[in-house]
Amino acid sequence: MRDLFRTRRMWRRPGELKDSYDVVIVGGGSHGLATAYYLARDHGVTDVAILEKSYIGSGAAGRNTTILRSNYKTPEGARFYDASLKLYERLGAELDFNLLFSQNGHLTLAHSDRAMFVMANRAEVNRLHGIDSRLVYPDEIKELAPAMQVDNPHAVFPIQGALYHPPGGVIRHDAVVWGLARGADRGGAEVHPYTEVTGIERANGRVEAVQTSRGRVKAGTVLNCTAGWSSLISDMAGVQLPITTHILQACVTEPLKPLLDVVIVSSQMHVYISQTDRGEFLMGAEIEPWTTYRMQGTLNFMQEVTRHTLELFPQLERARILRSWAGLCDLSPDFSPILGKTSVDNFHVSSGWGTYGFKAAPIVGRTLAELTATGRTPELIAPFALERFYEDKLVSELAAAAVSH
């Protein structure tokens, strides 16, 4: 509240780039900023530069539908995302910035018994990890989302049940970015927007420096936090990634009075729907199947996402779509992240976030900061090593992440 009447800069005005930093973080999205924040907070590492080619949050962080949840399928995934969710719960207070975390619950609908099976399995794995997640049936779904059509006899995709995850919800994407940026800045890191990394210099299996649109910068450690662009940055360091880049799209309606508190996801219909604190219905769908780096959306998306949303919320038929947009997603083969060391000693990566990486920002920041500061891979992220694709030891979240963020 005290900041309400005071106009204080959120972060320092970006100055000149120094010649050298202990840590250079490529990418000013949620992961890069979180890492800088935790580097300072947990490890006192402050000689850090975040290089962002555009404005902070211009990537997926600023385009995502902000669903936070931890009801994943694999024990590795469930543990990891749960740790992140717990950090998120406290993050607003810690950053002294209201992240508008609307923790009103998350429902993944099942329209077939096959889907019910997957939900049951997730519920059980979650329960064993202390994650609040359970199967619910139409009557309870109706109570949780009274505006939704749960037992329409003519429904194309009747709802058999759902996985209910009370701690899930949505958060304000930009607030997370700005809160973390301010936290990083106050911790001592330099945030450099409009600074594009164009090359990486290596010698003796180590990264020496990065070249940028504003000159060359030496780096003790380089962290690749560029999500949708991570293949390109890794290429510069001579590290291959098992990634394909696709667009994912979203759209919002004009603001409406509250109708929906929980997040609704239907994998079979490829939609997910929430209503933001501003009143807009926020909708997303699945990725486009083809790879691309061009952040332009498709008409097909708008058609499919509205048709399917109206299956569930027919009363929205005259509500108007205000805007749609697209962002990039770095898809990994097993729908789990790629996090940590690479074959290049001082070049670490955070990638493979597909459609679900925003919820991981705090835990990525924390673990990547720990790895950077100590040189040791935290146990929580050991299963997500890049090496697993060479060894073919996948952590498959196909059933829990493919279309469901």
Partner: protein, 956 residues
């Protein structure tokens, strides 16, 4: 009240009155009125309350561009009253005010809210204590939002549809430029569509003194064969695909060439009180007058930066509005309309503009003066009920930008103008900077002709003309601008000065946000939410950029603009959604299942009979007599050619080239990562031909998988997908043989037709392929015939079996029956990570095969490394049926696997299932713990089929 006497060319029909209600009060209107014009004529001045401060807002643009007149009509929120035609009996209500538009309690925020609700105030408040946040959030949420929808609605009620329209040329925008372009292209023979969002083509001509011309041009275009879409905003540009919304229809226009003649958007000015009802854009005031014969005010002041506002003053004068004063920001030089104004004794202030607008509940007066003058100097306060502003224009480049055009700041004209138009697109008229009517028409004609030329239409003459036209336009373009560029804010007086009307963002808010560090246009946009409301920047982008440039001490070019995204015009979801149909596949016997009372569910993209109401009884019939199940959903491929065996040997880990003609073999398909992707049976029909079945949901993918490798390998093989061409039923049970024998001449004896034989014969007079396989564990005949005969075959079998206890059975009993046999279901018992070794099918992988096959390398490794988990059967210690999906744990604890199938089997008198368990436990008699909804249950591992483990029944 404000209706003018009949005017030439007005859009209303005074002989036909309509009535509708606004907030419960009856309002009368003429046919042709918009909600806005009718309400205004009836004296309504406040149309909405603003988003945050609940300030009164009145008509401003009268063209559907600004947020001021958003109302709710029946159940439709966000309706632009100023463009929505009145329909008899419609119920119109205001949106964001309570209890009423006139008395809005939330407007207290306007008085006290300023300092408490700066941009992003919610980021800085309610942070602690955390536990109170949910409460605050509820309050915030209920204060936000405009439209109110029904709590519940069972089904869609509004019929909307798509219409694909291919065309040679699409013209977006039907002003002088667009109409000329469309006519020019069509006259050269092109197939042309023109979409205009106005009520009739004409654009600015309609209300700005060119209606005759508009109607001439329209007629010319119509005669040339142009398809004219009116009331039809083009929503976006998707690489040549342009969706156009018109009423209930979404036209998806795919044109070879597109001419954008979208005009420009008249801009407001920034001064305290610039949002008061009574402040109108000149275009808006004139549209009221010219289209609807409504007088926008009695006494008006005009503030302009170019002739457009002066022209408007003249027109208003003609309509009987008193013009108290005209402030022209341009310092000197009397333009044509200025002279006319002077001649008519209208006071004209040069170099002046509005410094402030005042009024309670609506405009009562303005202060005019020089923006740069010291306080008070040379100011004039004037009473008026209408302030007409014309703050310059912003070319409507959104769609062009989406199609790859670029803009740059044109300092002289004070706008972001096109600097590059991509090939395939053309820009004409005001959007392209063609400022005057003549050049707008010319630039349209040239663009239209060039678009047609690019497609091979036209002749030498038309080319010459177009080139000539280009040269003329280039000359015109070089002339100096006729407009003054207003300062970011026209005065430093107190009072809210709105940069963004949609989101109630003031100039001061932008100033504060920059000071806080949100110093790029993108950050400022997101922090203040300027341009993020219903107008999407039409009214606020340019003012915001100007303010940003001022605050950051940079140029407008450096500040730049934000990205234009679809839809150009907020569009109802129903329109985008089109018809609600979803493709669903149905077997040719589906109708019979319905008649038999089947419960039908989705299975992949098929609708299937889950059971016929008695799954237990149905399963029992299979054991005791016979059952009949429709398995037409199986994928079915014919693979033939000299290399067919070779192809299959390469695609499956086991061998098919040595399969004997007339025999059937089971196969599993693996990926090169060694993961199971599908399974099915294969029957060799003759030396060169195989009949391959796949899982129901895998059919499409496997067909593509086969043809993909075939495309790569180039073997001499033909593949045909006959999935939908064949019905298949499985007749199984101890009496199946008797039943089938009554319908076929074939020798069905145990010796004559043995297990895993595939034979062709007539059944019930229909040529069939019959496979003796036993998915459900009893003697079974899978009978395939042309799907046109499916129903006939089904009926004949049921008839023949009537005296033998034959019953139809559905998917659910089949699942139990196959579970008793431990036959796996791909996708249920396996997942994307399962390999054949883990799935307890090592025998299916023939690593001794000579040739390479897909999956070989990975499978070689799996053959050596013991799997971590294995698929086994289990029997429950007690009678509890675990949930499918329940977790398996070794005795010590952490989850290692899951239950994939579980059923109570009356036949076996217990609960059986399949599960992935730690490999060490994959032995008969091992005990595993199953965690099901937190309960820990005990089960015992079984590795051989529960029913008929040696397959004696099957083979009998």
């Amino acid at each position: 009240m404000s209706r003018l006497p009949e005017r030439e060319g007005e859009r209303i029909d005074r002989s036909r009155t309509l009535s509708f209600s606004f907030d419960g009060n009856e309002v009368s209107a003429y046919e042709g009125d918009t909600i806005g014009s009718a309400l205004f004529a009836a004296g309504q001045r406040t149309f909405s309350r603003s988003f945050k401060y609940h300030r009164r807002r009145g008509l401003m643009c009268c063209a559907g561009q600004c947020p001021n007149c958003l109302v709710q009509v029946d159940d439709a929120p966000g309706v632009r009253a100023c463009t929505e035609p009145v329909r008899e009996g419609m119920k119109v209500v205001h949106m964001n005010a309570s209890p009423s538009l006139e008395l809005d309690l939330m407007s207290a925020t306007d008085v006290v809210g300023g300092p408490f609700t700066p941009p992003g105030f919610y980021y800085k408040t309610f942070i602690r204590p955390r536990r109170l946040w949910p409460l605050y959030e509820k309050v915030l949420r209920s204060a936000a939002g405009l439209g109110r929808l029904r709590k519940s609605q069972p089904e869609r009620e509004w019929r909307t549809e798509y219409r694909r329209r291919h065309a040679d040329v699409l013209v977006v925008g039907g002003g002088a430029a667009g109409l000329s372009a469309a006519a020019a292209a069509a006259e050269l023979g092109a197939d042309v569509v023109l979409a205009d969002e106005g009520p009739e083509p004409g654009g600015r001509l309609l209300a700005e003194g060119g209606r005759e011309r508009a109607r001439e041009l329209t007629e010319r275009a119509r005669l040339a064969g142009v398809e004219l879409l009116e009331n039809a905003p083009a929503l976006g540009a998707f690489d040549g695909l342009v969706p156009v919304w018109q009423g209930d229809t979404l036209h998806q226009v795919r044109a070879a060439r597109i001419v954008y003649a979208t005009g420009a958007i008249e801009q407001p000015l920034l001064f305290p009180g610039n949002d008061l009802p009574g402040v109108m854009l000149s275009g808006g005031a004139l549209r009221l007058v010219e289209l609807y014969a409504v007088k926008p005010g009695t006494r008006a002041v005009v503030a302009a930066v170019c002739d457009r506002g002066l022209d408007a003053a003249l027109a208003l004068l003609d309509a009987g509005v008193e013009i108290a004063c005209v402030a022209d920001l341009r310092p000197g030089g009397a333009s044509g309309p200025a002279k006319l104004l002077l001649r008519r004794n209208v006071a004209l202030m040069r170099g002046a503009t509005v410094l402030e607008a005042r009024g309670r509940g609506g405009l009562q007066g303005v202060v005019l003066g020089r923006p740069d003058a010291a306080d008070g100097e040379g100011e004039r306060a004037i009473g008026c009920d209408l302030l007409v502003v014309s703050g310059g224009s912003a070319p409507a480049t959104s769609l062009l930008s989406q199609s790859g055009a670029r803009t740059g700041y044109d300092t002289e004209r004070g706008q972001f103008a096109l600097t590059h138009v991509p090939s395939g697109a053309f820009a004409a008229g005001e959007v392209a900077g063609a400022g005057e009517l003549a050049s707008a028409e010319l630039s349209g004609a040239v663009a239209g002709a060039e678009a047609a030329h690019a497609l091979g239409f036209g002749d030498e003459l038309s080319h010459t003309r177009a080139e000539e036209g280009r040269r003329t336009l280039a000359r015109d373009h070089g002339r100096p601008a006729q407009a003054a560029v207003p300062p970011p804010v026209t005065s430093r007086r107190k009072g809210k000065c709105f940069a963004c009307l949609c989101e109630d963002v003031t100039a001061k808010d932008i100033h504060l946000s920059v000071k806080e560090g949100y110093d790029s246009i993108e950050l400022s946009k997101r922090y203040t939410t300027t341009t993020m409301g219903p107008c999407q920047g039409r009214m606020c982008q340019l003012p915001a950029v100007r303010l940003m440039a001022q605050e950051t001490g940079t140029t407008l070019a450096e500040v730049g603009t934000t990205t234009a995204r679809p839809p150009w015009h907020a569009v109802p979801m129903g329109v985008l959604a089109g018809r609600p149909f979803e493709p669903a596949k149905r077997s040719s016997i589906h109708g019979r299942h319905r008649e038999l009372g089947a419960n039908v569910l989705w299975a992949g993209d098929w609708r299937r009979a889950y059971d016929y109401g008695d799954p237990r009884g149905e399963a029992l019939a299979v054991h005791e007599a016979a059952g009949l199940i429709d398995v037409s959903t199986l994928g079915k491929l014919i693979v033939r050619g000299p290399d067919a065996g070779e192809l299959l040997d390469r695609l499956y880990p086991n061998r098919f080239s040595n399969l004997k003609v007339g025999r059937v073999r089971y196969g599993v398909i693996a990926s090169d990562a060694g993961r199971i992707t599908d399974d099915g049976t294969i029957c060799r029909l003759d030396d060169d031909s195989f009949y391959v079945t796949t899982t129901s949901s895998g059919a499409g993918a496997i067909y593509e998988w086969f043809t993909w490798w075939l495309a790569d390998w180039g073997l001499d093989v033909h593949i045909t997908d006959v999935t939908q061409g064949l019905s298949a039923v499985n007749l199984a049970g101890p009496r199946a043989r008797e039943i089938i024998s009554t319908l076929t001449p074939l020798d069905c004896s145990a010796e004559g037709f043995t297990y895993l034989d595939g034979k062709r014969a007539e059944v019930a007079g229909v040529p069939c392929l019959i496979l003796r396989i036993g998915f459900v564990g009893e003697v079974g005949y899978e009978i395939h015939c042309a799907s046109a005969h499916g129903e006939h075959l089904w009926d004949a079998l049921l008839d023949a079996g009537a005296g033998h206890g034959l019953r139809p059975f559905g998917l659910e009993p089949q699942r139990l029956l196959r579970l008793q046999k431990m036959h796996i279901l791909i996708g249920q018992d396996t997942d994307s990570e399962s390999n054949p070794f883990g799935a307890a099918m090592p025998w299916i992988v023939k690593l001794d095969k000579e040739q390479d096959f897909i999956g070989r390398w990975a499978l070689e490794r799996y053959a050596e490394e013991p799997p971590e988990t294995s698929l086994v059967g289990f029997r429950m210690a007690n009678g509890h049926v675990p949930t499918e999906g329940a977790v398996v744990m070794p005795v010590d604890g952490s989850p290692m696997g899951q239950v994939t199938s579980a059923r109570h089997s009356p036949q076996l008198g217990g609960v059986i299932g399949m599960a992935w368990v730690p490999a060490a436990l994959a032995k008969d008699g091992q005990r595993v713990t199953i965690s099901d909804e937190g309960k820990k249950l005990q089960a015992e591992v079984v590795t051989t089929p529960f029913y008929d483990p040696d397959g004696e029944v099957l083979r009998s």
